[in-house]
Each structure stands twice: as structure tokens, then as C-alpha cells.
């Protein structure tokens, strides 16, 4: 059980901005835009952030990782199961590396 002041500050900061955003939605409910540019922008943020996170990792990865990414995507589309998709990707990387090494 250990932590550092840096980690505590980061986590408390994350917690504060999260509750602040959630509470603001309720408190400002009557003044927030329900449609139009701002609302559409807010809706698109999570997907765009995840795409920005994944894309560089995918193009800088090895061929083994590219194949594994296809397996991950395929399994997720078929099963809609996050755990199965992750396991398929990990197993694929493991197997290809085993084959190349052996």
C-alpha cells in the first residue's frame, strides 16, 4: 500500500473536475444547448479522444500487432464483448511472436 503526493494530487484533480462537470450539467440545465453545434461537439468528444489514442499506436505497431488489431476488431464486432475482443488480440500477438521466434 503506497502512493505519492503526485499521484494523490492527480487523482483528486481528476475527481474534482469530474464531479464539477456532472454537477454543472444539472445546475445549468435550463441554460445548456440541447442541439446545435455545442451539443454535437460534446457528444463527439469521447469517440474522437479514443480514436486519437488508438490511431498512433496502430500505425507504429509491428505487423504482428496489425494482425492482432484486425482480430480484436473482428471479435468485438461479432461478439460485442470487450473482454473476448481484448483476449483475442492478446492471444494473436502471443501466437505470432511465438511463431516468428520459433
Amino acid at each position: 500500500m503506497h502512493t505519492t503526493p503526485e499521484a494523490v494530487i492527480a487523482i483528486l484533480g481528476m475527481a474534482l473536475v469530474t464531479i464539477a462537470v456532472k454537477a454543472s450539467g444539472l445546475l445549468l440545465a435550463d441554460r445548456l444547448p440541447r442541439e446545435g453545434f455545442a451539443a454535437a461537439w460534446l457528444r463527439h468528444i469521447p469517440g474522437a479522444v479514443l480514436a486519437a489514442l488508438v490511431a498512433p499506436a496502430l500505425i507504429t505497431g509491428s505487423p504482428a500487432e496489425a494482425v492482432a488489431a484486425l482480430a480484436t476488431g473482428g471479435v468485438f464486432i461479432l461478439t460485442r464483448n470487450l473482454f473476448a475482443a481484448m483476449a483475442a488480440g492478446v492471444a494473436m500477438v502471443y501466437l505470432i511472436r511465438l511463431l516468428i521466434a520459433g
Binding site: 499521484a7 487523482i11 484533480g13 469530474t18 453545434f37 469517440g47 474522437a48 479522444v49 468485438f76 475482443a85
Partner: protein
Amino acid sequence: MSTLAAPYRFSEQFCAGARACVPVAISVAAYGLVWGVLARGAGLSLIEVVMMSGLVFAGSAQFVALDLWTATPSSLPIGPLILAALIVNLRYLLLTATLRPLYPEKGLWRGALSMYLVTDENWAMTVAAMARGGGSVAFLMGGGVLAWISWMSTNLIGYGLGSAIDDPARWGLDFAFTATFLALLLGMWKGRSDLVPWLVAALAAIVTAQFVEGSWHILVGGLAGSLAGALVEVRKHAHHA
């Protein structure tokens, strides 16, 4: 409305909310297990896992945080971690605003504190109940408490599983991050209107990552992609009008 009802109604509504959220709590559990495994790999300590899941309690933001986390405190990117949590969670403005009808005119500040327990899952169930003429603060809280317990307990189980593995790369587990994020992304697909924002986000992130050190590509790509998505959506509506 139910806000004037006797106390026993609260527990009744609380249990109804928890029951309605059982199916989605199972999906929370699956994500929680994966997050726990990855948190171990990212170098979070047990107490940090408990603090983050207990206090932040926001799945997407916590997944993004794992990508930014470093095990060495001196290089922990505190600013980017907080900024990323803010940006990823901004969409909650839209979600919690729709819960306004559940709260009385006065004393909204106390209601604001209860927003801590709002997740995508219990929000969706509560809004569905509201559409049927039901739903209440207690209903929302019941689902929230169930989601919290489900998230925290599976995070800890995942963390325990993660620590049983000494060398993650040997088992291909270094790819678990990318695989998880890819699956999370695919799970967010709602239709063709996601194509432009995702492509713009990906391209902007790839270019930024080439030229700028650190995690700026997440911020640049996320902002560029979401703004592009909003632009396309607003243009389309203008054409139809």
C-alpha cells in the same frame, strides 16, 4: 411526483433502480475487470486504484488516464491527467442536464452532489424510466450504487489477476492496451456520422505524435475530431432544413 412521497418510497425506488441496472452492471463488471488488469500494468498501486475508482468513478476517463500514467512520480503528467479527465467527461453536461426534472426547484445544490453517482448506465435506465412516466432520484441512486460496487469490486479482482503475471510482454499482454482501446472505440460506433470525426481525430493524432513528444496527440486529435463531427452534423441539418 415522487419527491413528496414518504421515506419507504425512497427504498422502494432505490431497489427498483438497482434492479433495472443489473443487466448493465454486468457490462460494467466486464469493463471493470479489464481496467483492473490494465491498471496493474500501468503501474498504479492498490491504494491508487481504490482512490481513482472510488473518487473519479468514470470509466472512459479512467481508461484514458491509464494511457497517460507513469509509475515514476516525478514524471507523472498531473496536468494532462486532469485535463484529459475534464475533456472526456465534458459530455456529462448533456447527460446530467436531462435529469433536471427529477429535482425540486429549490435545494438543487444538494442534488448536485448526487451527480457523483451518475454513470452512462444508470443515466440511461433512469431516462428510460422517465420516458415511461417513472424515474426518481432514488431510482437513479439505486442504479448508481450498484454500478459503483460492480466497478470497484471488479477493478480489484482485475488488479489481483494482473499482479499474478510477472512479465506482461511475454504473454502478449503489452498489446492489451491497444486492443482494449480499439474495442472501446468500436463500441462507440453509432452510425456513419462517426466516420468523419474519427478519421480526423486519427489523422490529427498521428501527425501530432510524429512531431510532438508526450500525450498532446490525444488532446489535439480529440478536439479536432469532435469539432469536425459537430461541423458535419450542423451542416447536414442546415441542408435538410
